[in-house]
Symmetry: C2
Subunit: 288 residues, 2 copies
């Protein structure tokens, strides 16, 4: 049931991406290269599921939900650049700049980010006030007080030993803010009550930390082929991670705590939100 | 009169920038470095003047107008990077990446672009529908079918001889689209009629080309100190320019034609729009 619904969400998202009206020659090729063919689509899936949890329709929020994946993809392209993390591979394929060159990779990221806001501002069957609220929240989550700030802190942290608080701050900014706003986007555009939107926020907060802890564990335990990127890269780059600070057993324990918190946050929903429950388990159990 | 009004607009814009609530440590420093202390502020000035031309108030559109300058600044930071135009100086000072390093310069650009959309989505005393219309138009003008596409074409054009049509296409995308949307932003948010918005569009279209022709002429005739950047850089980079294609006299003639067209586009306004007329002359007569 969860798998079927997940595949149906991902199917809708991928069809939307394939139909984006980007030219083939100039920008479209490099933007498509990084956007299509890979990725778990967690952010748009979370947005679609959150919209349905509050009684909205997936179709109603699909373009806005997909905009979140464009923002995520732009951040990966810029993050992989030599001046940043200097990663040659992403999702099992060459990084964007290894295929198109650094200049065009920077521009592909810029293009994806800007187009995301075009999607968020395009007419949707919801009141304009809700759309503006979501636009502002997404910009805040992605911007210099959110994801971009997380990237800067991450850049500054390389080679340093961080405390658990510092690590959590980076994750909160770098991945947490966008996951939270994904759930909120679905809740707000879907017409949820403020109580429902708050519950979705708490849910996504725990989900985001669970996601990151699992990422750190996979980097340590996984093999490069399954991961689609080099394993043990955190060790090589001397990054502070949950396992490096809490030990592997401690990290796994924290993961279970966060998943439990995610489940509890959903208790206010009177109708079943099975998908969101399963999504939390899925994130903790995934192999890549 | 024109100078006084221009200084008053620029003053409002600069005060707005100085009061942006950016942290000093992480991102704020590098974003401020490129945003503050330099620049003609043409885009927000155009937006404020357009709003007043249709009977709106400057205060009403100030944050949205300032967002245009953030987008312009982000594009300069990314454009100056080694992987792009590789310029060490901008506005008479070291380029952002020469001060903060490439990684942080990319992120400063990303932060400015994202924050621009936060400003555009923040509550303004205008109907939400108008704001969404402007948001979408700005994203289109800045995005992969607008400014970013122009940057890609510009990157691909280096070392090639272009036709006048190809040059004009690059300018239309790289600078024209944002200048047009600046005027439209003022017209739309200020509550202009569709006829007024169309006239502002034609005005900004001619103004944009005049601006670019003048830029090419200045690059050839100006000295580095007055320009705040190396003169004759187009020649060195073998860029096709208006003077290289039309000759210097031909380029100056085209400049006069475009300024005349800008004046004519304003004829539909029944109340005086002296500032916009003077702005067209100012752009043609400027020394840097």
């Amino acid at each position: 049931m969860f798998r079927t619904l997940l595949e149906s969400y991902v199917g809708k998202i991928d069809v939307f991406f394939e139909n984006l009206p980007w030219d083939e020659e100039t920008m479209g090729q490099s933007m498509r290269y990084s956007l299509i063919g890979g990725g778990k689509r967690i952010r748009p899936v979370l947005a679609l599921a959150a919209a349905q949890a509050v009684g909205g329709k997936a179709e109603q929020v699909l373009p806005a939900a997909c905009a979140l994946e464009l923002i995520h993809t732009y951040s990966l392209i810029h993050d992989d650049l030599p001046a940043m993390d200097n990663d040659d591979y992403r999702r099992g394929r060459l990084a964007n700049h290894k295929v198109f060159g650094e200049g065009k990779a920077i521009l592909a990221g810029d293009g994806l980010l800007t187009y995301a806001f075009e999607l968020l501002a395009s007419p949707l069957p919801v009141p304009s006030e809700r759309q503006l609220r979501v636009l502002k929240e997404v910009a805040q989550a992605a911007g210099p007080e959110g994801m971009v700030r997380g990237q800067v802190l991450d850049l500054e942290a390389e080679g340093k030993t961080l405390s658990l608080e510092e690590i959590e701050q980076i994750h909160r900014l770098k991945t947490g803010a966008m996951l939270i706003v994904s759930a909120r986007l679905g809740g707000i555009l879907g017409g949820g009550t403020e109580e429902q939107i708050r519950a979705l926020t708490r849910y996504a907060q725990s989900l985001g930390l669970a996601f990151q802890i699992k990422d750190d564990i996979l980097d340590l335990e996984g093999d490069s082929e399954t991961l689609g990127k080099p394993a043990q890269s955190d060790l090589k780059q001397e990054k502070s991670t949950y396992p490096s600070l809490l030990g592997l057993a401690g990290a796994k324990e924290q993961l279970a705590v966060k998943v439990q918190e995610a489940h509890e946050a959903l208790s206010i929903f009177s109708k079943p939100v099975d998908f969101l429950h399963s999504l939390a388990d899925y994130i903790a159990d995934r192999k890549h």
